[in-house]
């Protein structure tokens, strides 16, 4: 190795702290981009591959009973790829502790002969599915968390209160099923005989799973084919109650994961930008330290391109080290996260792949970005003449070019000195404040902060961006929380009891009221219906929700018009989800609804907004009016209960007591849902984004801290001689440390303020993007103090940590060391 390259190696290896910080900085970006990119690619690939291999249905039609003959006629409709009928029963799984879980049983003849929404063995290495005998059940693998082992007996409580025992024959992987943790409902499969034994029908189907022949992701095409099937079915005398088409051709979590991948991708590249700032900062200071060496090299024959090549190789060496560490690190975490995501979102992971495009992006981040960031600072130093490079005399020359500015600064900072005369007679507290905050070392720190303006600007940029991302992510958490609270405003009850059929309100309310802890009850009605277009050619599914006119358990977010009032008769409040399919609707319009095969006209009095996916769209009407319209005054389908105590344990205990009492009174309860459980199910869907973003926010904080540490180290190194002079004139260890620490804290506080300002537009963009990607609606911008407070604490800790080592090093320098020439 020639001495040129030995110098490069020495520059790389001799200052280990600088090298470590530089590599760590590049690793942060390379790791983040690698993880996000590869994870996104592999998730998309595996999610789709697993999903499509199950021949998924794009639409489900809930119908009046249909037999095999009818099914055969539907199979021939143009555009239908496969259609399969199923009959199901919903019951409750009674666990050993008495807790009940809603469980849906699909009747299937032979698990291996299903043609749509195929089942697979829960272990991807197995090739054969468990068979189903009478009184046996296969559980979807996402319900493994319930803790049942194969061979266990499952106690099932039917809606009529009867208990059935089923033997768990095995677990299956059903990629088209929404996981238990998210739905709060387990999916199970039994044979037709067992289904009949459970109260279902083995001869007729109650739902049709439809898979189109082509264009499965084309919503309009899927909708058209489904409508054709429904029309044919209804022509044959059947009734289609409801059609479910949700994100056809894709796994149920596709939209969420796309949103997550995009947002994380943006954050990853922001992190790369942070790293680039930091690389510039470090290179600027490195080149400043090396300017004399460069002058010498040029004096002994080194040409610009030769010297430039040396520094390019140095930068590439940092990149290579970062690349070598971050590629396997990102890959390892990729596997861990992917497996977690697969379990959580219910899809099978394929063979782990490191995608070439990921490695290319990582290489760009590790090699090209640092090089681009460093090329101008490097060139600016390399091209200086030998004379400029060698003309460094006396104490740090940072102030030489700033003579005018320093004079100005001195004027500004000399004010406290003038004030000191009056401070002599000031109260002790003021004198103490002055002593602490305006003492000379502090003033030196503040002055030092602004000496290297470009470096300060780069450090501040890094920290400000890190702070802004952190605060924005915290604000996004706050927004999620607020969104959940907004959604909860439509479901304010502590306990929601749903019945399998209508009950007289007085009867069920009387039972529920007798349970201690129940404070108040409301009886609600829910009905399926259709909105008919003005030209009466099309109809859209919807659900009517009918709270009592004086309900206190709903606080809607109105975007237009008003809410329902007592005495309103045919008034209806429509929501954003109906508007997405009927954008022509507005307040004051009269709409035609088909409720239980009876058409009626309603007047739109208001429009509400609810975030998230709601299928079918919900419209609100007065209970009093609609219950008369459907000839069921006084009947309710659900009870919304407020408890006197709000802690989850008490509410859960009340829920259990209610369950027992209603069972005893033989009331057919389909589900008892606790607000806390419901909230948990909802937040499960956003948790993945929250955790990922938290990781990214922490990474940005780390990079920001590295930036500050790098700056403080460089500043201290540059001021070695000044420190020597200060020590020579009596500065103690504490004085020297204080100067460095206060400078670090001052930069930290400046960046904190800047970060808060910048976080506003970033929060706005993040909230909008995430809202559209995940909730299908822009979320409401929230700016919380939590993020600001936490970032302040992190900034102060980072500033102290980043300055402590340079401060300690500075205080250990002796006068002899610091004033010695090279």
């Amino acid at each position: 190795m020639s001495s040129r390259w030995k110098k490069v190696w020495a520059d790389f290896w001799s200052n280990k702290t600088r090298t470590f910080l530089m590599i760590l900085t590049i690793i942060a970006g390379t790791f983040a981009v690698g993880l996000n990119n590869n994870l996104g690619l592999q998730m998309n690939r595996d999610m789709d591959a697993d999903f499509l291999s199950a021949n998924p249905s794009e639409a489900t039609l809930y119908i009046s009973p249909a037999d095999e003959d009818m099914l055969a006629t539907l199979q021939d409709i143009e555009g239908v790829g496969a259609i399969e009928g199923r009959s199901d029963v919903t019951a409750q799984l009674v666990q050993d502790d008495g807790k009940k879980v809603v469980i849906n049983f699909d009747g299937i003849k032979d698990p291996a002969e299903i043609t749509v929404n195929l089942l697979k063995p829960d272990n991807p290495n197995d090739t054969t599915l468990s068979t189903l005998s009478d009184k046996e059940v296969l559980l979807d693998e996402t319900a493994k968390s319930l803790g049942y082992e194969i061979g266990d007996m499952l106690n099932i409580e039917l809606s009529n209160g009867k208990i059935r025992e089923l033997r768990l024959a095995g677990y299956v992987h059903s990629v088209t099923t929404i996981p238990y943790a998210m739905m709060g409902q387990a999916q199970a499969f039994i044979n037709p005989e067992t289904l009949e034994w459970m109260g279902g029908s083995s001869e007729y189907y109650t739902k049709l799973n439809l898979s189109v022949a082509e264009n499965p992701t084309d919503q309009q095409h899927v909708s058209d084919v489904t409508q054709a099937v429904s029309d044919r079915f209804e022509k044959g005398g059947g009734t289609t109650y409801f059609i479910l088409i949700f994100n056809p051709g894709h796994h149920f979590a596709w939209d969420v994961t796309q949103g997550v991948i995009v947002v994380l991708g943006v954050l990853g590249w922001l992190l790369v930008a942070l790293s680039a700032f930091l690389v510039v900062n470090t290179i600027v200071s490195l080149m400043s330290q090396h300017s004399k060496q460069i002058g010498i090299m040029k004096a002994i024959g080194g040409q610009n391109r030769q010297i430039m090549a040396m520094y390019i190789v140095l930068i590439l060496s940092f990149g290579a080290a970062a690349f070598v560490v971050s590629v396997p690190l990102a890959s390892f975490l990729n596997i861990v996260v992917l497996e977690g995501m697969a379990t959580w979102l219910n899809f099978n992971v394929g063979e782990f792949t490191i995608f070439p495009q990921t490695v290319i992006q990582q290489a760009i981040v590790a090699f090209i970005i640092p090089l681009l960031a460093a090329i101008f600072p490097m060139w600016n130093t390399v091209r200086v003449t030998v004379r400029e490079a060698l003309s460094d005399y006396g104490l740090g020359n940072a102030g030489v070019k700033q003579a005018k500015k320093q004079t100005k600064d001195s004027r500004v900072l000399s004010r406290p000195v003038r004030m000191s005369i009056s401070f002599r007679y000031a109260p002790p507290v003021i004198r103490l404040i002055r002593q602490v905050f305006l003492s000379r070392p502090v003033r030196i720190s503040i002055r030092n902060t602004f000496r290297r303006k470009m470096r300060l600007a780069l450090t501040l940029s890094t920290l400000v961006l890190a702070g802004a991302i952190f605060v924005a992510v915290m604000n996004l958490f706050g927004t999620f929380d607020k969104t959940m609270r907004d959604v909860e405003k439509y479901f304010l009850a502590d306990i929601n009891v749903s019945f399998d059929r209508a009950y007289r309100y007085e009867k069920v309310a009387g039972i529920v009221e007798s349970v201690p802890g129940v404070e108040s009850i409301e009886g609600w009605m829910m009905l399926g219906g259709e909105i008919i277009s003005a030209d009466e050619t099309t109809a859209n599914e919807l659900a009517l929700v009918a709270p009592p006119a004086d309900s206190t358990l709903i606080e809607p977010i109105l975007t237009e018009g008003r809410w329902l009032m007592p005495g309103d008769e045919n008034a209806v409040v429509i929501g954003n989800h109906l508007l997405s399919v009927r954008p022509d609707l507005k307040v004051g319009d009269t709409i035609k609804l088909n409720i239980l095969e009876k058409e009626s006209e309603w007047k739109v009095v208001g429009i509400y907004n609810i975030p998230g996916n709601v299928i079918p769209p919900l419209i609100y009407v007065n209970y009093e009016y609609v219950s008369h319209l459907v000839n069921s005054p006084g009947d309710v389908y659900s009870l919304r209960i407020i408890t006197s105590e709000k802690d989850p344990a008490t509410v859960a205990a009340i829920g259990q007591e209610l369950q027992a009492l209603l069972d005893e009174k033989q009331i057919q309860v389909s589900n008892i849902e606790l607000a806390a459980e419901w909230r948990l199910q909802q937040t499960q869907q956003t948790d993945v984004l929250v955790y990922f973003m938290l990781v990214m926010a922490i990474l940005t904080a780390v990079v920001g801290g590295l930036g500050l540490m790098s700056t403080m180290s460089i500043n201290t190194l540059e001021r070695t001689r000044e420190i020597g002079v200060m020590r020579a004139i009596g500065a103690s260890n504490f004085d020297i440390q204080k100067i460095v620490l206060v400078e670090g804290l001052f930069i930290g506080l400046l960046s904190w303020a800047g970060g808060i300002l910048l976080s506003a537009p970033i929060t706005s963009a993040l909230v909008y993007g995430v809202g559209i990607a995940i909730f299908k609606t822009p979320l409401q911008f929230t700016f919380g103090v939590e993020g600001i407070g936490i970032w302040l604490a992190i900034t102060l800790v980072l500033a102290i940590l980043a300055s402590a080592l340079p401060a300690r090093r500075a205080s250990r320098l002796t006068v002899r060391d610091t004033l010695a020439y090279e």
Partner: protein, 284 residues
Amino acid sequence: MGAGLETIMLTLPFTKNGKKPAESNGYPLISLRGVDKLYKTAVGDFPALVNVDLDIKAGEFVSVIGKSGSGKTTLLNMVTGIDRPSAGEVWVNETAVHELGENKMARWRGINLGIVFQFFQLLPMLSVIENIMLPMDFCKTFPKNERKERALELLDQMELADHAFKLPTALSGGQQQRVAIARGLANDPPVIIADEPTGNLDSKTAERVFELFNNLVSQGKTIIIVTHDNEMAKRASRVALIADGEIVSDKPNGKPPSQPSPLGGRSNFSPLGGEMSDRAEGGA
């Protein structure tokens, strides 16, 4: 400092391609014609050099003396191309230095000039031998496999072979300056330029550095040094006095310039080393 070190006998190890040093043919090796240098400062233009004419023949050992701020270093910077004249011409070894671009200048400088600085300016992260090999690496004046051998021989001539693999910080000031001289000789340049080479050394060590320079002159090198030390300056064959940017006096030092001799192996060594030793002892 051991007694042996006081007599440094310098014989240049070998030259590139057997090239001879520039010979005195009556034409100056270094020529400055009407050189002006103006520095722009906050308080107005400062004339560092005013209409300087200077000719130096091959094999001359010229001392440039003058007070601080008189323009000595600026004059050297004109010769080395480290700085450019505001007006006038600078010719070194038949090259118009004032016309060279920065990049060509670096290569030209590396091959034609050996520069020795007051504070040695060795690269601290490279070992002594690597510092000496660096100019050869940059200028590729010697084949790769010969560079180490040449560096070692130069160090041997400086009686520093034992320190070859140490870092510069492990050496004394005098030793570092000798390494710097060895580095200056690495590409076998015809001209050695030294700015206050003894300014940071004690008198004994400074004496020995001068012995080295004398020895180099005897080997045919042309040397220009800037110094504050009038006594040291008198060891040169010619002394130029500069004041306020003008050469006010330029005369031989009562001793004719050394006649260049072809560089070669030790067999070509002239017994000047002994003389130097005597002078050094006398000087002490």
